[in-house]
Amino acid sequence: MKYLYYPGCSLRSTGRAYEESLLAVFRVLGIDLAEIDDWNCCGATNYMSINEHRAIAITTRNLALAEQQGGSGEVHIIAPCNACYMGLQKTKIYLDTEQGLREKILKTMEGAGLRYEGRVVIRHPLDVLINDFGLDKLKMAVKKPLHDLRVISYYGCQMVRPIATFDHEADPVSMDQVAMTLGATAVDWGMKLRCCGGSMTSTVPDVGQRLNYLLLKEAKAKKGDIMITACPLCQFNLECFQGKISKKFRDDISIPVMFFTQLMGMALGIPEKELGIHRLFVKPRPVTV
């Protein structure tokens, strides 16, 4: 099966390592990705609350472009960033269920010379890896099993909430399953879905950094060697301020935080350079040793 790929803004900026590692891993596994031509903002965060029509219209443009490019029948779009994943899904559901809104948006699309027919399926890379590719096949592709590595999977808010399609909304396990398939120990912990601080980390650091701290502290308390995420913002928040947080709370909470695809790439034997490991601030020593 061929998938269309929607990178979103973060994967071209702070989350470059996510894109690099995702593309490398999918290439090695033989999963075909074709980037959607001329894609635009997913409409994440504030836009949706300020002007719903415009937010949904710009998001729908991506879906319409994908249908145009993907040919007839169902068109599967992989959206790796959790915020994009949720934004695209939410838009599709709105269009599917709100007749009045759909009509308005379709008219807007017409104005842009586009058609949206509702043939898109929004997929998360974890969903594709587990349900399309299969963990058995993944296991066979592992070249350097991550034995003795305690992995803390951190899902963040938007992968399963408010729309849970491929994993449990209150107790997701997909990233843990991938980690176990790579040979690592998946550490069960109670903060898989707790807030990473979101935009607060930069805007209201007192609040945001406390939220970061609680997560990092618990990851250490559970004796995690490494944290993995599927969201550029989660990764950024949890990794970038570790020095400040350690000082502020007088508690050493340093722990490598990387994208799950980077961890996969290491187990698959892909060179670190191709996985963007050099971009990490907190170097993942336990893996590379």
Binding site: H168, A170, D171, D188, W189, G190, M191, L214, E218, A221
Partner: protein
């Protein structure tokens, strides 16, 4: 309609039902419209057709205008068909010359647009006028009622119903799936709000059931087949082999003591897996019948065939029989009472409460067993490490009042949570927190019990608990279970560290409720509990005559209400039995011999095995007593030889013509 022998004279009555119909439908206009329809002699509208004057009106018009067909346009026939059929009889007409049109549920209650509602009402009345002209004179058959009763489910509801029926002199078959009767109530230590000992009030009833000469108790048994109809049900009950001869066993425990397993090894169902039992066991010391059971899934004899059978040797009454086979009992009963109870919500479905993950998160039923002196901890409320909890949080509404799991209120949880709070405090002296959404304590002495708890220094925090976790933010929280909750009284999110969490799980339909529903041909409401015939006025009847329901199988219910319902169900069954006979709706199929080609295609199609083949005449024959009037054979007969009373071709075709073609 010239081919009718008699002149058809129809009376049409449009009911206002107060504002229920008249508020949306132009009743006078419809009556006026109907008066112009073919064969209609008189057409009237009236405020309440079901009232006495309304019924008298029909009778008077029959006499005065020589009416011979009646159309009543009002509510659902389920509600008042009998009323109006009786009115026809009083007026001297055959009751089957009535046709009802439901312009309430099907029109006024579901339409807001008056014009559309009026059009639909006119169409339906016109169709009925066309149909009724073809309706035939029919007679109801009277069938005697078998006075014996089957009760399925031996919890407190089934036990109560059984004793009432048996005391009234009726023969009762009480069928229970588990090895003992007693149901959920047998698990409890104390009952709310009086805190009287559950066993003390239940076990005498259980032994009365066993001793009663009119009650046949079949435990470890399930109903496997039901046929027949009201007053005359034929039922097959499968008795599972317990490998112990019930008549010989005296419950002395010798077999249990001598089992080659020196200690219990398998999860004890009665203690919800919190203790272990041997393959041969008695559920609890007051089990009824007090007869051992051998679980063939864990017994070495059944698994390997290589057991020294020390249990059999230990039994000086030779009661153990490894060769026992399932036994099918066939019985005939006139009435059935279903008291199959409920299932407790599986707390694993809400992973954020940590049940199954954190050892000190318990369900309310597990704590019920813990506070019970004969339970797994001999009455001590303890943590998994054996120590006493210093603080306990009780979460209300787990699997109740929740869009994501069950929307309904389980009715008993507030009260049993209060009871557990009291008992836990009494047993441990711990700080006890109740996390509730609303306190629901309607019931005699219930609010007073809540008040008593408020004075016992139990904490009440209003808010649905968001999660139970083990991640600590402060040193106070280290090693504790932390309950995160929005305290809606204070307006802030709180984190409360405790040693033990109790999840007050709600009540759900049993997993096999659908199987039972199909067996007895009754209905379930959307959430899966058995559906009563009318929520207010026929709460223990079902839409299948002669089958009654009581207890938590019908909906979440506490002990007093279950017992009350059981009494009501018994009274309904007794009323039916004592009337001596039932009248059967004459909706059966019949065969016109001259048309039957003897192709036999109807034989296998009949779901009730009501059709036989007469080899001599080479024709099919329908047994009217078995025919349920489903119409399957009627539709399938290639030569049109099978017809059905109340659903004759002429009636249906004329109705359709009336609906679509002959608009005026």
């Amino acid at each position: 309609m010239s081919h009718h022998k008699e002149e058809i004279r129809i009376g049409v009555y449009i009911c206002h039902c107060g504002h229920n119909i008249a508020g949306t439908v132009d009743v006078t206009g419809i009556a006026e419209y109907a008066s112009r329809l073919p064969n209609v002699v008189i057409s009237k509208d009236y405020k309440y057709m079901c009232s006495d004057p309304g019924q008298v009106l029909i009778g008077q018009d029959i006499a005065e205008h020589k009416l011979n067909r009646i159309v009543v346009s009002s509510c659902s026939p389920l509600l008042h068909e009998k009323t109006f059929r009786d009115a026809l009889v009083k007026g001297g007409l055959n009751p089957f010359f009535l046709q009802m049109v439901n312009i309430r549920e099907n029109v006024s209650w579901v339409h807001t647009d008056t014009d559309d509602a009026n059009l639909k009402a006119r169409d339906l009345v016109r169709a009925a006028v066309h149909r009724v002209a073809y309706q035939k004179e029919l007679t109801k058959k009277k069938v005697p009622v078998n006075p014996d009763v089957l009760i399925v489910g031996g919890g407190i509801a089934g036990i109560s119903a059984a004793l009432t029926m048996a005391d009234a002199g009726k023969k009762v078959f009480l069928v229970e799936k588990e090895p003992t009767i007693g149901g959920h109530m047998a698990l409890f230590d104390k009952t709310f709000p009086t805190l009287d000992c559950a066993a003390c009030i239940l076990t005498p009833k259980m032994s009365s059931v066993k001793k009663h000469p009119n009650i046949t108790l079949w435990s470890y048994s399930e109903v496997s087949e039901v046929s027949g109809f009201v007053g005359n049900y034929k039922v097959k009950v499968t008795r599972k082999p317990r490998y112990v001869i019930e008549e010989l066993c005296v419950g002395c425990y010798a077999c249990v003591d001598e089992c080659i397993f020196k200690e219990g090894k398998f999860p004890d169902e009665f203690n919800l897996g919190m203790s272990k039992r041997k393959p041969v066991y008695l559920p609890f010391p007051q089990a009824t019948p007090l007869v051992a059971v051998i679980d063939d899934k864990t017994c070495i004899h059944f698994k390997t065939g290589k057991c020294q059978q020390s249990c059999a040797k230990a039994c000086d009454r030779n009661a153990i029989d490894f060769n026992q086979q399932p036994e099918v009992k066939e019985i005939e009963v006139g009435t059935v009472i279903l008291t199959t109870g409920f299932k407790a919500f599986d707390a694993r479905r809400l992973p954020y409460y940590g049940y199954g993950k954190f050892p000190n998160v318990f369900t309310s039923l597990e704590v019920e067993r813990m506070v019970n002196a004969s339970g797994p901890t001999e009455g001590h409320v303890v943590l998994k490490d054996g120590s006493k909890p210093k603080s306990v949080g009780i979460v209300h509404c787990v699997g109740s009042r929740d869009e994501k799991t069950n929307k309904w209120c389980s009715r008993v949880c507030c009260m049993y949570s209060l009871k557990l709070a009291h008992l836990i405090k009494e047993h441990t002296g711990a700080e006890v927190y109740n996390f509730y959404i609303d306190m629901r304590t309607p019931g005699k002495g219930y609010e007073e019990f809540y008040d008593k708890l408020l004075r016992e220094d139990v904490h009440f925090i209003r808010g649905r608990v968001a999660e139970v976790s083990d991640w600590a933010t402060t040193s106070d929280e280290e090693g504790k279970l932390i309950m995160r909750v929005e305290d809606t009284m204070v307006g802030m999110v709180r984190r409360i560290p405790v040693d033990m969490v109790v999840l007050s799980v709600g009540l759900e339909p049993r997993d096999d409720a659908q199987d039972i529903r199909k067996l007895f041909n009754i209905s379930c409401s959307t959430e899966g509990f058995f559906l009563e015939k009318h929520p207010k006025l026929a709460p223990v009847d079902t839409f299948t005559d002669g089958v009654f329901i009581a207890g938590a199988a019908q909906g979440p219910r506490d002990i007093p209400d279950s017992v009350a319902q059981a009494g009501a169900a018994a009274a309904q069954a007794l009323a039916l039995i004592d009337s001596g006979h039932v009248e059967l709706e004459p909706n059966t199929a019949y065969i016109t011999d001259t048309l039957c080609s003897g192709c036999k295609s109807c034989l296998n199609i009949c779901p009730y095995k009501a059709i036989a083949f007469d080899d001599e005449k080479r024709k099919s024959v329908i047994n009217e007593a078995l025919c349920k009037g489903c119409g399957t054979c009627v539709a399938s007969c290639p030569s049109g030889a099978i017809r059905q009373n109340l659903f004759e071709d002429e009636e249906i075709f004329s109705e359709i013509r009336g609906l679509f073609v002959e608009s005026i």
